[in-house]
């Protein structure tokens, strides 16, 4: 099994490396929103002294950390897999004795992620000097704990997206469903603004959804804003959501493959 993963890594890394110029463009595209929100909220905090207890520096550190967490926990599985179901190229992978979504696509996504992070690190350093955040609240323990938290977040996000992508077995409009899902993330993950600044109703619902595991939870963990109790709560909810999303994905996948009759077959 290890050998299989090693080989898949070599292939997928080589494939992603081909598109490094595209990746820079993609990186730029992805950077604009967080920087825009950072600017909007720091300008508000500067004008009013603070917003609901958040100072300008709180916003800067929040969005600077968000850039990292979003890089690690997000996934592109809809783009690397959706078309395979639709145009039938999946057939070739289905006959192989390994799970297409949980090996090949996963490794491809991770290769993409590593390359993105490599390209992103120098940009982050530049942003650091431009915005001069004060990271004094960050402790080593929080940073270390955030690593398993972000990995957990990535797998939850990957499994949910994989389940949505597998809906392509039924409908060609899977990209529209994904767009809707994307809006849910924006609303409940803390991507737009730290969750305490959202309306009360949104905060209450977010408690019961997995989306804050992608951003708000690891960010607060790194910034040292969580109590021990909250940290444990986060990990527990992460494990529960990983279970739920895995079961969900397996169910959708199994039924989908049964329905699948490849194009042209």
């Amino acid at each position: 099994m290890y050998l299989i993963f090693q080989r898949l890594w070599q292939v997928n890394w080589a494939e992603q490396w081909q598109y490094r110029a595209n990746m820079l463009m993609y990186l730029l595209y992805w950077l604009v929103s967080p920087i825009m929100y950072l600017a909007v909220w720091t300008s508000i905090a500067n004008a009013n002294g603070s917003v609901n207890g958040f100072t300008a520096n709180d916003f800067i550190t929040y969005y600077m950390t968000l850039l990292i967490c979003d890089q690690v926990t997000s996934n592109i599985v809809i783009h690397i897999f959706g078309y395979k179901i639709q145009d039938g190229t999946l057939s070739g992978e289905l006959v192989k004795p390994i799970h297409p979504m949980l090996t090949n696509a996963l490794i491809n996504n991770i290769a993409f992620k590593v390359l993105m992070i490599l390209g992103f690190l120098p940009i982050w350093v530049i942003l650091f000097f431009l915005f001069k955040p004060d990271f004094s609240s960050v402790a080593l323990s929080g940073v270390l704990l955030s690593i398993p938290a972000m990995i957990l977040g990535f797998f939850v996000s990957y499994m949910i997206s994989a389940a949505i992508t597998a809906l392509a077995f039924w409908t060609t409009r899977v990209y529209s469903i994904h767009e809707f899902y994307f809006a849910l993330i924006l609303l409940f993950s803390g991507q737009f603004v730290p969750l305490p600044l959202m309306p009360k109703l949104v905060q209450d619902i977010a408690q019961y959804l997995p989306f804050q595991l992608f951003m708000y939870y690891p960010i607060q963990l790194i910034l040292g804003k969580l109590s021990t109790e909250q940290i444990i709560q986060g990990f527990v909810s992460g494990v529960i959501w990983l279970g739920i999303s895995t079961v969900l994905f397996n169910w959708v996948w199994k039924n989908g493959v049964k329905r699948y009759s490849a194009v042209g077959a």
Partner: protein, 261 residues
């Protein structure tokens, strides 16, 4: 007259093409409404925590959202589909047939594909602008509204010209099919007044990829922040950029030699 006739027949062809995907149109409009809801909610969240954003009020940001959606529609309904077709035609040489037509090739390349359901977006955008201006109340004079319309048109022309230059570069660098990504990437910055951005970002979105020229600056005219000299400058920048863009296009066409030769 001739141009209008062509434009209307382009439109008819595109309506026919999109009629094959009626259900998609409905889904797209629903998603579009969802994003509008999100945009209004996010403005609501911002203004429940503050009374002004960089000195701008809620009403002005509604109008800005309208102008932003105008530019966004230009991007999604014209720039995106036509660029895709153009890049394809450079790669496979079908650009030959476009040049052979007895019509201005720049016009043909930029208007032959129209994403029809986006007309809906145009209506929404104009509604937002009208509602926003109404909410600002007495502070807006007729002169301000006129300069606003003038500069919004100018800004659109600046974006259009930049687009022409970007795709014309493909004549020199055939493999340049990321040509409009940079425009698309920075588009989102038009949602908020550029005056709240840090200086380096403001310079980028004003001078390098001038999204702000089409969004923030018309709104500044509406607020009466610009004097006559500034309005004149932006107007001439618009005219100038269009002239430069058509020259670049002509020079690029001379470089074109077909795909097979």
């Amino acid at each position: 007259m001739h141009t209008l006739k062509l434009l209307s027949s382009f439109f008819k062809v595109n309506v026919q093409m999109s009629l094959a995907y009626r259900a998609d149109t409905v889904v797209n409009i629903l998603l579009n409404l969802m994003w509008l809801g999100w945009e209004l909610l996010s403005l609501n969240i911002i203004f429940s925590n503050t009374t002004t954003l960089g000195g701008w009020g809620f009403a002005e940001l509604i109008a800005l959202l309208g102008v932003f959606r105008l530019v966004n529609t230009l991007m999604m309904a014209l720039i995106w589909p036509n660029t895709e077709k153009f890049n394809q035609s450079i790669r496979d040489g079908s650009m030959d047939y476009t040049i052979l037509q007895p019509v201005n090739s720049m016009f043909l390349v930029t208007f032959s594909r129209i994403t029809v359901w986006r007309i809906w977006d145009l209506i929404l955008a104009i509604t937002l602008i009208v509602v926003g201006i109404n909410m600002t109340g007495d502070t807006t004079t007729a002169l301000h509204i006129l300069t606003f319309i003038l500069l919004a048109t100018t800004g659109t022309i600046v974006i259009y010209s930049l687009w022409i230059v970007l795709i014309a570069l493909t004549f020199w660098f055939t493999k340049f099919d990321n040509n409009v990504t940079i425009l698309h990437a920075l588009l989102d910055s038009g949602r908020y007044p550029a005056t709240v951005y840090p200086v380096w970002l403001r310079v980028i979105v004003t001078f390098i990829v001038p999204i702000a020229v089409a969004t923030t600056i018309p709104l500044q005219a509406l607020r009466g922040d610009l004097n006559l000299g500034q309005v004149a400058i932006f107007f001439f920048v618009g005219v100038g950029s269009f002239i430069i863009a058509s020259q670049v296009w002509k020079a690029g066409l001379k470089r074109y030699s077909g795909a097979s030769s």
